[in-house]
């Protein structure tokens, strides 16, 4: 990120963090006192979160001040409106819609989330196989070629999927005695 942009990002995160710290302090102040249970007031559950809330408030507050000092509020003289992800695009494409890295990032996240949420509903080795297979296939799929021409890619993805799922299940369940989801 450019310094200017980072400063802007810092400005907004500091506002989020200040809100968070105030939230922490308010909720902590409302926590019950244990004095009635014959315990010291210093053992109250709110004591330490209040401390952390204040520390976070001071840190984010100084970031807020710093961002203003660095000129966040001053009207920017170089008015370029970049997309939020363009600065993290060293191999940027000419594509107009969504920058490729952003797209790849979203696909990765989506497949992984899908896997994490399917666990526990289906048989573990099956979900794992599906996950590995889909992950590799999606990222190795070449839209320029025909689907059938890429049977080798899919075969490999399937082989790795089966291998991973079998190895992981055997090693963890029987060697490390870990429960699998």
């Amino acid at each position: 990120m450019t310094d200017n942009k980072m400063n802007k990002a810092d400005f907004y995160t500091s506002i989020v963090l200040i809100t968070l710290s105030i939230g922490i302090i308010v909720i902590s102040l409302r926590m019950p006192s244990m004095v009635s249970k014959n315990e010291s007031m210093w053992s109250n559950p709110g004591v330490v979160p209040i401390f952390i809330g204040f520390a976070l408030l001071m840190l984010s507050g100084s970031m807020f001040v710093r961002a203003i000092m660095h000129g966040v509020l001053r009207p920017s003289d170089n008015q370029h409106t970049e997309g939020p992800a363009s600065d993290i695009t060293p191999i940027s494409d000419t594509q107009k819609k969504l920058p490729v890295p952003m797209k790849r990032m979203l696909i990765t996240t989506a497949i992984c989330i899908g896997y994490a949420f399917l666990l526990g509903t289906l048989w573990f080795p099956l979900v794992t196989f599906l996950f590995v297979f889909v992950f590799i296939s999606v990222f190795e799929f070449d839209s320029a070629k025909k689907v059938l021409q890429q049977w080798k890619t899919f075969l490999w993805a399937a082989v790795i999927g089966i291998g991973t799922s079998a190895a992981v299940t055997i090693v963890f369940q029987y060697l490390f005695l870990v429960n699998l989801p």
Binding site: P49, A55, R66, A116
Partner: protein
């Protein structure tokens, strides 16, 4: 003393037989593997083997557990170097220099240095065990609630400062967010549920391992998969075993890190993770200005410091186990439990009841250390090949391991979700240059801070004086302030800009 050395010699000789060495080999190798897998920690490995070795002779079982402990703390460095994902929380500092080295095509060398560092660290810790066991043991009792409060704050400040060299403020913010995350769930004194907003899952708290695996593992996967072509590192393996001159160049760092690691190991509750950070910090401060530039960009010295520090911590953590029956770290706590189960009673009476056991333990540490060194330097070449596997084939496997690692310890599906959420959050924060290591350390230290701050205030009736008058407290407080003030560029800028305005 002389009698001690004699007992130590006898113990080593008695261990040199086929069965014991065979046990040491498989236990150490298993430890290295567990350490390498993100999410499976040394604590879990030792606990697993405690159950499996129950039927064995006490000495065989304890040797296996120590091999596992040392192997796992070392093994974590491998995934830190090769994948930028620390295998155990102890290896977070190793990613700072280990991964850049791997990107420069020096993965083999980095593993060699990490192995040598771990080996020397363990050796220094072992010598400390041999000579100072009674002395270091009693230091542990000097650390009481007030000191632990400072220690947890000191840890956050030091780690934030190191991982965000450009902007320490973000490191500290990340650390305090970690402290806050550890507040979520049922607290440890009154079982009052904090910040759960009615969710029973959140009431159980956010565990360290899923959060760590998420912020380091999943976030790394997203960030790697972003680019279509990942520069395949041309890992022409130069040489794995470092030249002696390369190692001895850093003798000051090695000895310093070894001593720091051992001492921190001896302090109850704070373990390998802090040891690595503190020795890394001292190494950076002690380095020549030209070398200091390299820290965080692939410094051999930095890598050496963190790995020496975390492995020196292991024998250090065993010292108070033996002399006071106080574990110096979480895996050492399980080790203590195992000793008790096997009928060995460590504690203040050990010198009277089982005097030879101390020396036997030292000998076990030595065997485990040597084993780790040998196994660590073999099989490196095929391992480094991991770097050449196309990322779209490797990452789904790594993610599967992340999922199991998060699930393994508590068998809660909620933990898998925590891992995913922290991965995404961690990725966003990383993009804004917030380091993740202080966040993870904050989650570790939050519990220590929570209980000790309240306990200290109960003991002092709310007075803050003891925090500043007790000798160790005062030292820790001064060190903390020194770091904050020396790095507070923002204060300087504010003052400067106010001056500018006034002028």
């Amino acid at each position: 003393m002389f009698e001690g050395l004699n007992m130590f010699g006898t113990a080593i000789l008695s261990f040199l037989n086929f069965k014991i060495l065979f046990n040491a080999v498989w236990a150490t190798e298993l430890g290295i593997i567990i350490g390498m897998l993100p999410g499976l920690t040394a604590t879990m490995g030792v606990a697993l083997l405690t159950t499996l070795t129950f039927k064995m002779q006490a000495n065989d079982a304890i040797l296996i557990l120590i091999c596992m402990y040392i192997g796992a703390i070392y093994g974590g460095s491998r995934s830190a170097i090769l994948l930028n994902i620390p295998g155990t929380p102890a290896n977070a500092a190793t990613t700072l220099d280990g991964y850049p080295l791997a990107l420069q095509g020096k993965a083999g060398k980095a593993i060699g240095i990490a192995t040598t560092g771990s080996f020397l660290g363990s050796l220094i810790g072992m010598f400390a065990m041999l000579i100072f066991t009674p002395l270091i043991g009693s230091i542990a009792l000097k650390f009481q609630s007030y000191e632990f409060v400072w220690f947890s704050i000191f840890g956050i400040i030091i780690c934030g400062n190191l991982t965000a060299p450009k902007d320490p403020l973000k490191g500290w913010i990340s650390g305090f967010i970690g402290l806050f995350v550890s507040m979520i769930g049922m607290e440890g004194i009154h079982a009052y549920t904090r910040f759960s907003f009615g969710s029973t899952e959140l009431a159980g708290g956010i565990s360290l391992i899923p959060a760590m695996v998420g912020t380091f593992g999943f976030a790394e996967i997203i960030s790697v998969m972003r680019y279509q072509k990942f520069d395949v590192v041309k890992a022409k393996i130069d040489r794995v075993i470092p030249k002696p001159s390369e190692v001895f160049k850093y003798w000051k760092t090695i000895i310093r890190s070894g001593i720091i690691g051992t001492l921190i190991g001896a302090i109850p509750g704070v373990g390998e993770d802090i040891a690595a950070w503190v020795s890394y910090d001292f190494a950076k401060r002690g380095a020549k200005p030209a070398d200091r530039e390299m820290f965080g960009k692939g410094s051999i010295e930095g890598l050496m410091a963190s790995e020496t520090g975390n492995n020196a911590c292991v024998p250090g953590a065993i010292i108070p186990v033996l002399t006071l029956a106080i574990p110096g770290s979480a895996p050492a706590a399980v080790l203590l439990g195992a000793m008790l189960i096997h009928g060995i009673r460590p504690g203040p009476l050990i010198m009277v009841e089982f005097p030879s056991f101390i020396y036997e333990t030292v000998a076990m540490v030595l065997i485990a250390t040597v084993m780790m060194f040998i196994l660590g330097l073999t099989m490196v070449k095929p391992l480094v090949k991991i770097l050449q596997v196309p990322r779209q084939k490797l990452m789904p496997i790594v993610f599967t391991l992340c999922v199991i690692g998060s699930f393994a310890i508590q068998s809660r599906l909620f933990d898998v979700r925590v891992m995913v959420v922290f991965g995404i959050l961690g990725f966003i924060l990383r993009e804004m240059e917030y380091p993740m290591a202080p966040l993870v350390l904050g989650i570790i230290l939050g519990d220590i801070l929570d209980k000790n701050l309240r306990r200290a205030l109960i003991l002092s009736n709310g007075s803050l004086t003891p925090f500043f008058t007790r000798p160790i407290s005062l030292i820790l407080f001064s060190l903390t302030m020194l770091i904050v003030l020396s790095r507070a560029k923002w204060i300087k800028t504010i003052i400067a800009s106010i001056r500018k305005k006034n002028a």
